[in-house]
């Protein structure tokens, strides 16, 4: 009998208290999440729309890109584990480019998510990073807000530079990098090249509303 009393006092009561605190914590978190989720989504979409427009040359399209959204199946060349989206750019009703969501899976600290704008002739219109976890102050120069590094991809294509030069200069390629942070640019170069390869194989479907 005495032993059961001890057990109730030393184990059951603290467990109940901890459970209570956890429940309060969970309640607070879900409440905050409910309250902030719509605002966060609006803010994130605004940022994405701004980045979307930057991946193609200004004036090359006249439609609302965020509404011209089409599905993109998951494909290892795009680094996608789940189906994502692509955005069709048109000018005067003519398709003038496509923007692919892609992921560089091998960044220094996990995935780097990208928007890659490709012109119908297979040249890159522009690349933007939408999310990453690279080292602050070191690997984050891939963000357009921090450095113009990402502009290097503008106008490149599968043959320009040639296959052997789709690397950072350190590895004998033709892309600049920042000393001390080479894993990050390597991952992005590979992802952009992968997206171009994917585009080369599926450009007819990608540039129409069809399913690739």
């Amino acid at each position: 009998m005495k032993r059961i009393k001890h057990w109730a006092r030393d184990i059951l009561a603290p467990a109940a208290v901890l459970l209570l605190f956890s429940a309060i914590g969970a309640l607070l978190l879900s409440g905050t999440h409910q309250a902030t989720a719509p605002t966060i989504e609006i803010a994130e979409r605004a940022i994405k729309n701004r980045l979307l427009a930057q991946t193609l040359p200004p004036g090359s399209f006249d439609n609302d890109l965020s509404r011209a959204i089409y599905p993109l199946p998951s494909d290892p060349l795009l680094g996608l584990k789940r189906p994502a989206s692509r955005y069709l750019a048109t000018r005067d009703g003519q398709v003038s480019g496509v923007i692919l969501e892609a992921t560089a899976p091998d960044g220094y600290a996990g995935e780097i998510r990208l928007l890659i704008g490709i012109l119908p002739d297979g040249r890159i219109g522009g690349v933007r990073v939408t999310a990453h976890h690279e080292t602050p102050g070191l690997g984050d120069y891939i963000e357009i807000a921090r450095s113009p590094w990402i502009h290097q991809f503008d106008g490149t294509s599968l043959g320009h530079p040639d296959r052997a030069h789709w690397k950072v200069r350190k590895d004998g390629g033709s892309f600049d990098y920042v000393t001390g942070a080479t894993v990050t640019p390597r991952a992005i170069i590979k992802a952009v090249q992968g997206a171009l390869t994917y585009f080369a194989a599926h450009h007819a479907e990608l540039l129409s509303g069809e399913q690739p």
Binding site: A13, P14, V17, L18, F21, S22, G25, L28, L29, T32, H33, T36, T39, I40, A43, A46, I47, H133, T135, P136, G137, L138, A145, R146, T179, G180
Partner: protein
């Protein structure tokens, strides 16, 4: 109302006598990781200060309801919940700030200085004192972070205050000071080893001043 001398003691402790960065040597993980520019250091420092003030305050309020054996798990739970709430609120209502702080905010949970102050101070003291202690310790950490950030930025990149426009917007566009023009950069200062060297120098400097005083 607490006497002025007590407030003064709390701040003297946080900023100098028990400075978390160079005396207690707590919370070194984020300290070394992001102290490579002044703006990064300042952002992380202030965010940590905010979380420390809130968590110390809340622990002081509920300190009498927490069974002794459950102190640590409850504190960890509380700090994690608070950091997540602060992150969500900043993400929703201060998007530009989130883009700067976003990667640092989860790091704050792992900062043992918060747990240390909650355990050593807030669990035994009244609420007002605990909030002040959180602020003082946070500011002490911020001061060390900024000094280290300035040191590493000047020697690593040859500039000061670069990137402030990302945190504060257009106002700060012209704030970057080029200390050494055409500086080739000194990689060691930018990478984590530079943070260890810098921190070592700061600790030595503090010890020197302290020994002169004694």
């Amino acid at each position: 109302m607490m006497p002025w001398s007590e407030t003064r003691d709390i701040f003297y402790n946080g900023l100098w006598k028990q400075n978390p960065g160079i005396v207690q040597l707590l919370g070194l993980c984020p300290l070394l990781a992001v102290s490579n520019t002044v703006v990064n250091a300042l952002s992380l420092g202030l965010a940590t200060t905010l979380v420390m003030a809130i968590s110390s305050g809340s622990v002081a309020v509920i300190r009498n309801f927490i069974p002794n054996a459950l102190r640590i798990p409850t504190f960890v739970l509380l700090i994690a919940v608070l950091v997540t709430i602060v992150t969500l609120v900043i993400q929703a209502y201060a998007q530009p700030l989130y883009l700067i702080l976003g990667i640092f905010l989860p790091l704050i949970t792992t900062n043992c200085i918060i747990l240390a102050r909650v355990e050593a101070f807030a669990s035994k003291q009244p609420t007002a004192q605990s909030v002040l202690d959180g602020i003082a310790m946070g500011l002490g950490l911020t001061a060390v972070l900024v000094a280290l950030g300035a040191l590493r930025e000047v020697f690593g990149k040859g500039t000061l205050f670069s990137g402030f426009d990302l945190a504060l917007g257009e106002v700060a566009t012209g704030w970057t000071v080029t200390v050494f023009p055409d500086y080739p950069g000194f990689l060691l200062a930018v990478l984590p080893p530079g943070a260890f060297f810098g921190l070592g120098l700061l600790i030595a400097l503090r010890n020197l001043i302290q020994s002169r005083k004694a």
